[in-house]
């Protein structure tokens, strides 16, 4: 699982989450609590801490807004926002962004694009492949920049140094990614490929863990049905 989990495993996890959330709602646990608890556990299990930071940054913006001078005390304001049932409340944002960031960080983009390519949606596989591979491209380029800085005696890879040297690595990283994106099509044409090329589609692995997860999700949904 070097590149991450398959699309099938992601769907299985999502199904288990939906089942747990439905069952928890039966005993009065709010859906946002289930969402935070389950994805908190998943983030810890898969150890994708950098993406957890992304979430902290996103939701801290809400904190900033709530921190502004207001008539209600802060805890009440937070409760109000979490229980808000309007169309685009914090809860909706939570249900959309938390799973999205989690699956973006753990799903193998290559396998996902192969899965999508098998659905024969024109252009969907290659586009998804490119979007997904940006994550790998970023880490790859960042590693190269770190090496260049290290030979000049500058540590940029450790956690605190990453923030301290932000001015040194962001510009070359952005320049490399933009140039790479601009040259991708020319490179493919040089090799005689159409752009985007037709992907080689291979079946996603379907193991016993996936079967168990789907069975668990099915059981939870049945439990939810029969306890209503």
């Amino acid at each position: 699982m070097a590149g991450g989990i398959s699309g099938i495993r992601a769907i299985a996890l999502l199904a288990v989450y939906a089942g747990l959330s439905l069952c928890a709602s039966r005993i009065g646990v709010p859906a946002w609590v289930t969402c935070v608890a389950i994805f908190g556990a998943l983030f810890a299990w898969f150890r994708v801490w950098p993406h957890l930071v992304t979430l902290v940054v996103i939701f801290s913006m809400y904190g900033l807004v709530l921190g502004m001078p207001r008539q209600d005390p802060w805890p009440e304001a937070l409760r109000f926002v979490l229980n808000d049932t309007s169309q685009f409340s914090l809860r909706v944002l939570l249900y959309l962004i938390v799973p999205m960031i989690f699956f973006t960080s753990v799903v193998d983009p290559y396998q996902l694009s192969r899965d999508v390519a098998r659905l024969r949606i024109p252009g969907a596989g290659p586009v998804l492949q490119l979007i997904g591979s940006i994550r790998l491209a970023v880490f790859n380029r960042l590693q190269e920049i770190d090496t260049h800085l290290a030979v000049r005696g500058i540590d940029s890879a450790s956690s605190l140094a990453r923030f301290r040297t932000v001015g040194l690595w962001t510009v070359p990283l952005l320049a490399a990614l933009i140039t790479e994106a601009a040259n991708r099509s020319a490179y493919c044409q040089m090799l005689g490929l159409p752009f985007p090329p037709k992907l080689v589609a291979s079946r996603s692995p379907f193991g016993t863990v996936d079967v168990a997860l789907f069975a668990c999700a099915g059981g939870l949904i049945l439990l939810w049905q029969f306890t209503s």
Partner: protein, 182 residues
């Protein structure tokens, strides 16, 4: 099947490759396809491993221009079997470049102009490159340091066979012409 080594103003490789291509086409009297390193792009980006990259390129060749070699033969003659299951992004810069060059040279082209191909390549990889370049069509190498190629000793063994004599060419910015070998 000739191999030429073109000496030109090094700036032409970066900034004047379109006009250089026209001059090489005029000299050879045929259409020329260009290989040149594209900054920050060393693989298609649509594949994860070396195996998938080769498979992707070979299956996407146009029907009227099939690859010179199919998968197994390609891997064997380019010595890529040890790297098949490695991620392309995990290869060194030289191997990534070599993989791209191998895939380019697997295209059935009448003539090729290869710009800055030898930087980052070991002597062994350069030898393989020259042997394979001699198999199909004409190849013109234009390097920042052409002497690296001209002074490369041929292998001459079964595992590293020799390549045909390299023909020096010169570009003065207006015309490409042959030069006397020293």
């Amino acid at each position: 099947m000739a191999i030429y080594v073109l000496t030109a103003n090094p700036n032409v490789i970066d900034f004047g490759h379109a006009s250089l291509r026209a001059r090489v086409e005029a000299h050879l009297g045929t259409v020329v396809d260009v290989y040149r390193p594209h900054p920050f792009v060393e693989h298609s980006g649509f594949s994860e491993t070396v195996r998938e990259e080769i498979g992707l390129v070979l299956t996407n060749h146009p029907a009227d221009a099939p690859p010179l070699r199919t998968f197994d033969a390609f891997v064997e003659v380019w010595d890529l079997s040890a790297h098949l299951d490695r991620r392309v992004l995990d290869l060194s810069g030289g191997w990534r470049k070599y993989l791209g060059l191998a895939l380019f040279l697997n295209r059935p082209l009448r003539a090729r102009l290869l710009l800055d191909t030898t930087s980052h390549l070991s002597d062994a990889r350069m030898r393989t490159l020259l042997v394979r370049a001699a198999e199909h069509g004409n190849s013109v190498f234009c390097e920042y340091d052409p002497q690296l190629l001209l002074r490369l000793t041929p292998g001459g063994t079964e595992s590293a066979p020799a390549w045909p004599a390299l023909t020096p060419l010169s570009d003065d910015g207006a015309i490409v012409s042959g030069v006397e070998a020293r």
